[in-house]
């Protein structure tokens, strides 16, 4: 993880960091020039304007140092940008990385604790588009940035927007995005030709709700070249009729831990070839968490799916 990366808004840190570089490169003037350039840049970039999910311009006067995040993927995005130490509160579903575990929990998306959030004196609140009480927080004078990543493109946009809102240079978010992209690409390339020939059913929760081609999970699967039994026309996470799956006969089933018990009991599912050949990947809770969040851990999710597909392709049919 990109831990301990310096932020341009703390001259002391910049000085230390550039100083270290200076020692390594043994150039006398260079660190000073770098420092001055960064300092000037930071002064110029004090006030930034970013667009939220409602296409409203949110002005952020100076780089926020006390951030409250009300969505796990936004918490992860802030941390991936190396600004974990600027978080002062997170929602109760945020569980990664470990460096945010000690932070106070301020409720969830449907029941944010207004009082606790205000008491933390945040200079930026990151919330999902559907977070209740976001209007109320705004009315109380807080800066609220509503962002909800749902697709690969969203994840990139959100990463850029958060980076800009935090006052980080654009290069930072671009670099993090390149790392994610490289990870996803590596996962895609790790697939054997046989693994690519499969048709997949990805079950998000035991509703059963599945991930269609329109979801970002579906986008990852599409990049891998495998077919999804749920077409995009059904919406990103449609509720699926068990009958539909039986007719579609997927080669591989991927599901979260919550589906494990109910799957075997669904009528007709014993006739599924994937069930008979045990070409099923049941992800543990922590794995499911990272798979369903369109955040900086998308590459890890892609890796899990690729491993599952390779394993399933190895099982004879």
């Amino acid at each position: 993880m990109p831990d301990g990366r310096w932020t341009t808004f703390m001259p002391m840190r910049v000085f230390q960091a550039t100083g270290l570089r200076g020692q390594r490169s043994a150039g006398g003037l260079k660190p000073l020039v770098v420092f001055l350039a960064l300092w000037l840049w930071s002064a110029w970039a004090q006030a930034v304007t970013v667009q939220d999910d409602r296409q409203q311009a949110i002005e952020i006067a100076k780089a926020p140092q006390r951030i409250v995040s009300l969505l796990p993927s936004l918490t992860e995005t802030v941390c991936a940008l190396g600004a974990c130490q600027r978080l002062v509160g997170v929602d109760r579903y945020s569980n990664w990385p470990a460096s945010q575990a000690h932070l106070p929990r301020v409720g969830g998306g449907i029941d944010p604790n207004i009082e606790s959030i205000v008491a933390l004196k945040p200079d930026l609140v990151l919330a999902a588009g559907s977070t209740r009480g976001a209007d109320r927080l705004q009315a109380l004078g807080l800066t609220v940035l509503r962002l909800e990543p749902r697709t690969h493109a969203d994840a990139q946009r959100v990463l850029r927007t958060v980076g800009k809102a935090l006052g980080l240079p654009a290069a930072d978010s671009e670099r993090v995005w390149r790392e994610i992209e490289a990870g996803v690409q590596a996962a895609v390339q790790s697939l054997s030709p046989q693994a690519r020939q499969q048709r997949v059913y990805f079950e998000v929760s035991a509703g059963p709700y599945g991930a269609s081609e329109a979801s970002f999970i579906g986008e990852t699967l599409m990049r891998m070249g495998v077919a999804n039994i749920l077409p995009a026309a059904m919406g990103p996470f449609p509720q699926v009729n068990p009958e539909f799956v039986v007719r579609a006969q997927p080669d591989v089933i991927m599901a979260g831990d919550s589906s494990r018990a109910s799957m075997a009991q669904r009528s007709g599912w014993s006739a599924l070839r994937a069930m008979q050949a045990q070409r099923i990947c049941v992800f543990a809770q922590a794995e499911s968490d990272l798979l369903v969040r369109a955040g900086p851990r998308m590459a890890e999710g892609a890796r899990l799916m690729a491993d599952c597909l390779n394993k399933a392709a190895g099982v004879g049919r």
Binding site: R105, G109, I110, D111, N113, I114, V118, G129, D135, L140
Partner: protein, 336 residues
Amino acid sequence: MSDQTHALRVAALLLLIGVATVLLGTAAGSQGWHNWWSVPADAVSRQIVWDIRLPRSLGAWLGGGLLGLAGAVAQGLFRNPLADPYLLGSASGASLGVGAYWSWLGGSAWTLSAWMGLGLTGAAFVGAVLAVILTLLLARGVQQTLRLLLAGVVVGVVLGALTSMLSLLQPQVLQAMQGFMLGSTAFVSWSACITMACAWLVCMALAWTFARVLDALTLGESTAQSLGVPLRLARLVLVGVISLATGAAVAHIGLVAFVGLAAPHVVRSLLRCTHAWSLLLAALMGGALLSLADVLARVLFAPQELPVGVLTAVIGGGYLLWRVYRDTYRGAGGGR
């Protein structure tokens, strides 16, 4: 005369409990105890007490009052102890309004500025009022109580099904809907308080005007008719009161369960009085119940907070169960 003094005493007591819990509500919260009477030390504490705790405590009292009043009117008008404020379909209408708000907002229609201006609260209110109007249309007016009840149930079920369908098609609506269904006072602002206070005053005045009609109705519809009370006008106005009170409350605090049903029952178990008194008492009782539940919801699991609707459902449900159990037990004992 002694009945009146008794009622006055109960009213004063309930008002006192209401004021006490509202004050307690400004002092207690998930962020610990703040002495509102001493000047809060810093700006954040001041903001927490004046801009968060006071409006939400007042909002709980007003919202509970509106539901209690609507419940008392509904039970009097339909002469049915099981009638509650959500009977005419207003609850499912409000839910559908909220669902529609989120699903359109989640779509591409960001530019729909009128929709944005209406807001979540407006959407819920419009939904509730439209549902009641639909019920009235289906019942072809307010002449027949039974037809009105039936139409209300049908509208409730159909709109509920539509809401379910909406949340199935667009799962992101589901989460927001859930928060609304639970009911919470956490997001009540000062402007919401003013709206609810106006609704409270208007509804109380209108209900009071027709309190004598409700008294006459306890003798049966035909007797009331023969007494020469303006039954038709009263029904129309009182249905309006129910929908306005419920719409205003539900829009701001969500679907809080059982307060509207339980408040008139508690009042009846305390004393027997005319509707002029029992309407006021039910409103005061609803306010006291909800603000008490609100304070409990905030401190029980502090710093986490329970949605108040969960607590009222547990407490209200428990109370009604106890009433039923006690009545049955007594009835069985009397039979032997």
